[in-house]
């Protein structure tokens, strides 16, 4: 399927047919469309028993062609509603969504393309496999809806089921499959008709922890291979970090931050993002000076000042209260108190994690999570001194703006 050749709204007449599995973009192809999916100021509220809850509050996003963007946030943050608006299963109160340059919904203009006409594939959290249809019928259904002939359906379904490793289970019924297999059938069904966009709604959340890890790796490989523009919804930050090209962190119906996984991890813009992604410690401190485009922050608990980088739009002045973002693995622990430049702390909890130790240290009454190598053993109640690696450290405001 070549890109850019079709700019009109998708049709349901099946004219696109079952194109062969999308090949990698050949060299020399025009640049990938950076606005492949464009979401513009979505608002949505649900009213239940007379009480209105605003679930989307001015959500805007663009997703580049072939990109995998993850909507990450706690439950109720609006990530699934955003996804369902793209799918056409929800209608926004206002705002618009374009796919490949064509509007699929424009609430203000009153236009709405029904979900079946959008050429969007979706894998549901519950898999939503039809229990009365075999694996082949489930996977072949989107092709049937596009009026593909029986042999064509069979060939394409075979191909995609082989790809997900279920080649021998065409005639099985969903209930005869394990959870992991059902999940792969759901995925096969979502991509079988070469949709323009693939939507994945918490696809791994129904798998047990061990299977989830395996499936995650397998899924990364599959999605890289298919090169379909994908929106992935999850509340699991490690999943998001592993799989995404781009992450958009949502909270309270608002996108707090959008960036690559390392941007979001290393440079959180707000306290919420810092705490939600990778259990970060937020250490209160005070700006003492400015240097190298950043500022010096002295932790309130003492020790030495650290070079810190504030978010681009924040300009803390000297004397301002701020918070340093300290990842557990960036803490250096030494035995004993009163080391120069270090903060005194006491070991409170120690947990063995196999690859190392996880500690909770107490600085006064503030808890600090610390991960160390396996040879760094400190007994509970012992005094330790802490310092931090990896300057410049990220810095966020002392209080959340809306707190």
């Amino acid at each position: 399927m070549s890109t850019g050749s079709r700019t009109t709204a998708p049709h349901r007449d099946g004219s696109a047919g079952p194109a062969p599995v999308r090949q990698g973009q050949p060299d020399g192809e025009p640049a990938l469309d950076p606005d492949y999916v464009r979401i513009e100021s979505l608002f949505k509220q649900f009213s239940r028993t007379g009480q209105a809850t605003r679930v989307l509050n001015d959500v805007s996003l663009t997703i580049g062609e072939g990109e995998l963007l993850t909507l990450l946030g706690p439950s109720g943050c609006g990530k699934t509603t955003t996804l369902r608006c793209v799918a056409g299963l929800e209608r926004p109160d206002s705002g618009a969504i374009w796919v490949r340059g064509a509007p699929v919904v424009d609430a203000d203009a009153g236009s709405f393309v029904p979900p079946e006409a959008r050429r969007i594939g979706m894998a549901f959290q519950s898999y939503a496999l039809w229990p009365h249809m075999s694996v082949l019928d489930n996977v072949g259904y989107p092709l049937r809806m596009r009026r593909v002939r029986r042999e064509g359906i069979r060939r394409r379904a075979d191909e995609i089921l082989d790809r997900v490793g279920l080649g021998g289970k065409l005639r099985r019924f969903p209930r005869e499959l394990s959870g992991g297999e059902q999940q792969r059938v759901a995925l096969a069904r979502a991509v079988v008709a070469n949709p323009d966009v693939l939507l994945l709604d918490e696809p791994l959340s129904n798998l047990d922890a061990r299977l989830r890890q395996q499936t995650l790796i397998w899924l990364v490989a599959l999605l890289r291979d298919l090169k379909i523009t994908t929106i992935y919804v999850t509340h699991d930050q490690s999943e998001a970090l592993a799989i995404s090209d781009q992450i958009a962190v949502m909270h309270g119906g608002v996108i707090l931050q959008r960036g690559t996984p390392s941007e979001v991890y290393d440079h959180p813009l707000t306290r919420f993002v810092a705490e939600f992604i990778g259990a970060a410690n937020l250490l209160p401190g005070q700006v003492t000076a400015h240097r190298d485009g950043g500022c010096e922050v002295l932790p309130a608990a003492g020790g030495q000042p650290y070079l810190a980088l504030p978010p681009a739009d924040a300009h803390p002045a000297s004397g301002d209260e701020v918070a340093l973002v300290v990842r557990p693995e960036k803490v250096v622990v030494q035995p004993g108190h009163d080391r120069p430049g270090c903060i005194d702390a006491v070991v409170n909890v120690r947990v063995y994690s196999g690859s190392g130790w996880q500690y909770v240290m107490l600085i006064g009454d503030q808890e600090l999570r610390v991960d160390t190598a396996v040879d760094q053993v400190f007994e509970r109640g012992n005094p330790v001194s802490l310092s931090f690696d990896g300057a410049p450290l990220p810095l966020v405001s002392h209080r959340e703006p809306h707190e």
Binding site: R12, F46, T81, R84, A87, G88, L89, E90, R91, F112, P114, P115, E116, A117, R119, I120, G121, M122, F124, Q125, S126, Y127, A128, L129, W130, P131, H132, Y141, P142, M145, R146, R172, F173, P174, R175, E176, L177, S178, G179, E181, Q182, A186, R189, A190, A193, L199, N206
Partner: protein, 598 residues
């Protein structure tokens, strides 16, 4: 979360909703209106007044009838509660040998015609020449009358044999689905067997028991054939027999009949409403009449105790099914009713199949039941889907109206439709149309229950994933919803067929020589005291019902089950609907378990 609900095919949905007006709303409205007219005629004009209710209150006989109905209801409720809970406890917790067979047989009394059972008990237990009295007299060598079914307790007993299954099914299902660890925790806390039962198990299932008891009470309030057959010779009247006599005896008193009907309807509607509140939103999806594993620690009963306790369910089944059916079979094979078997003959059956009147009645029953069942399935399918998809103003009201006839006794529906048929500009009085209409009005709610129970099990994501695959709304209905609810639709249709084939109460006031049904044929033969012929006809009818039950079980199987090929790796529980359920299949579907009726 709300889904966009565009482009519902409006016309069929609107028609399905509007059809409720002529079938349910108008007859009941006429009934209420008629009860307030100051004329006893169904066709004449009259002034609106409420004197009729004052007259009823002032009439000692009518007061007694209402009181008798209530007394029967209470006696039945208490009796079936004790026996039903006892049997459920024995089957689920004591776990005697053969409990699966008992469990399967417990629904049989439910499907037999209460009318035929009443006749059977009249033959078994009448004080003059009842079989049991005759057998005992032979045994002791002199004439004694230890048993008379022609009494309050006789009537209550026969009604109870039909209501015990309600309490049993609800209680057994609740006991079976109770987490055994709850009782284990009580045991670990030091509670003994009796204490566990009293403080943990029974309180947990109390709402289900209560719901079952309400069933029994409503059912007893609606019973007509039992008091009519067993109470006639002792002049025992209930409000429903009073209604019947007001219409059947000259001078015909439509006004009085209607007013009495409104009174009894008010009582039953309130009862059903309370019962619905008791059941609340709790799902009885797993209600298949099949009892679950039960608590293992409670099954520490000795072999002898378990065998002894087995006598209770077996005894119930003997009294509710085996004995009456045996009596009917025995009498149907004799030239005249007698406790002594002197001569066996098939002449009654030969007569049945050679008399054109019988065959016509059978044909009428078959045609009206089948036509009404098909119409009802179609109508209720569209209505159920419309109610699932649309949240239009008043859709709750529509749902209530559609289920309302569940709470209305058949005789009352009969009176209501009498108004329609007598006032109809087109001649429908005395035709098969009015019979079929009565069946549709009375039994459609059971079909609706069955369908909605199945539809609520269809996860919305199954529809959404089809939309995302490119299917429009019509395709989703055809490819996803219909195949998934088909077993429930079919078993709902079979239940409808069962109820209408055995129905007496609804059509007893509507049926005449021109539109006779098989139950009405038995009714008139019984009035003429042709007992062996009655027995033969009842056996024929019961055989047809039994065949339908078997057909229903077969049709209601879950589709495309091929569990023999199940993979070794454990299947995930992402299809609760199909796994626990399977039960749209079983004839004891939630529809029945919730609102049984005859």
């Amino acid at each position: 979360m709300a889904t966009p609900r565009p482009s519902l095919h409006l016309l069929p949905a609107a028609l399905a909703v509007l059809a409720l007006i002529p079938v349910v709303v108008l007859p009941l409205a006429y009934l209420v209106y008629g009860s307030t007219l100051d004329t006893e005629s169904a066709t004449g004009a009259g002034r609106v007044t409420f004197e009729r209710f004052g007259e009823i209150a002032g009439n000692a006989d009518y007061r007694q009838g209402i009181l008798n109905s209530l007394k029967l209801a209470v006696a039945t409720g208490v009796g079936s509660c004790i026996i039903g809970v006892l049997i459920a406890w024995i089957v689920v917790h004591v776990r005697p040998p053969g409990r699966n067979v008992i469990d399967a047989l417990m629904i049989v009394p439910f499907f037999l015609s209460s009318f035929v059972l009443a006749i059977a008990w009249a033959m078994l237990g009448n004080p003059n020449n009842g079989l049991i009295n005759g057998w005992i007299s032979d045994l002791v060598g002199r004439d004694v009358v230890p048993l008379s079914m022609y009494s309050f307790w006789g009537i209550a007993f026969v009604i109870m044999t039909g209501t015990v299954p309600f309490v049993y099914m609800l209680t057994a299902a609740a006991l079976g689905s109770t987490d055994p660890s709850l009782e284990e925790a009580a045991a670990m806390s030091g509670a003994g067997r009796v204490r566990r039962l009293r403080t943990v198990t029974l309180p947990l299932v109390a709402p289900s028991i209560l719901a079952g008891v309400f069933f029994a009470v409503v059912f007893a309030m609606e019973s007509f054939a039992e008091p009519a057959i067993l109470g006639a010779s002792i002049r025992y009247n209930t409000v429903l027999t009073d209604i019947y006599l007001a219409v059947e005896n000259f001078p015909i008193k439509y006004g009085t009949a209607s007013a009495l009907a409104v009174v009894v309807m008010a009582i039953t509607v309130v009862l059903v409403f309370v019962q619905g509140k008791l059941l609340g939103n709790r799902s009885f999806v797993s209600l298949s009449g099949k009892s679950g594993s039960g608590a293992d620690i409670s099954s520490g009963y000795g072999r002898r105790a378990r065998l002894a306790l087995l006598l209770i369910p077996v005894g119930y089944l003997v009294l509710a099914v085996v004995l009456p059916m045996l009596a009917l079979a025995l009498i149907s094979l004799q030239p005249f009713a007698s406790p002594q078997i002197t001569e066996l003959t098939l002449q009654n059956y030969e007569w049945f199949f050679s008399d054109e009147a019988n065959l016509r009645a059978l044909r009428n029953s078959g045609i009206t039941s089948a036509a009404a069942a098909v119409a009802s399935m179609l109508w209720m399918f569209v209505l159920a889907y419309a109610l699932r998809r649309s949240r239009f103003w008043g859709s709750r009201v529509v749902g209530y109206v559609a289920l309302l006839p569940i709470a209305v006794p058949g005789v009352v529906i009969g009176v209501a439709l009498l108004w329609i048929s007598l006032r109809s500009p087109v001649l429908i009085h005395g035709t098969l149309i009015i019979i079929a209409l009565a069946y549709v009005a009375r039994f459609s709610p059971f079909v609706l229950r069955s369908i909605t129970a199945a539809m609520t099990q269809v996860d919305v994501a199954l529809e959404e994933s089809a939309r995302m695959s490119g299917a429009g709304e019509g395709r989703v209905l055809r490819d996803i919803i219909f195949p998934l609810i088909r077993p429930s639709l079919l078993s709902g249709g079979v239940i409808f067929g069962l109820f209408s084939l055995r129905d007496l109460n609804t059509v007893v006031l509507l049926s005449g020589p021109t539109n006779n049904t098989i139950s009405m044929q038995i009714w008139s033969m019984y009035e003429n005291a042709q007992l062996p012929l009655v027995a033969a006809t009842a056996v024929v009818q019961s055989s047809i019902l039994l065949a339908l039950v078997v057909l229903g079980r077969w049709l209601g199987r879950a589709p495309t089950v091929r569990s023999s090929t199940v993979d070794a790796d454990e299947p995930e529980a992402s299809y609760p609907s199909r796994r626990e359920g399977g039960s749209p299949a079983s004839l004891a579907s939630p529809a029945l378990a919730r609102h049984g009726g005859r």
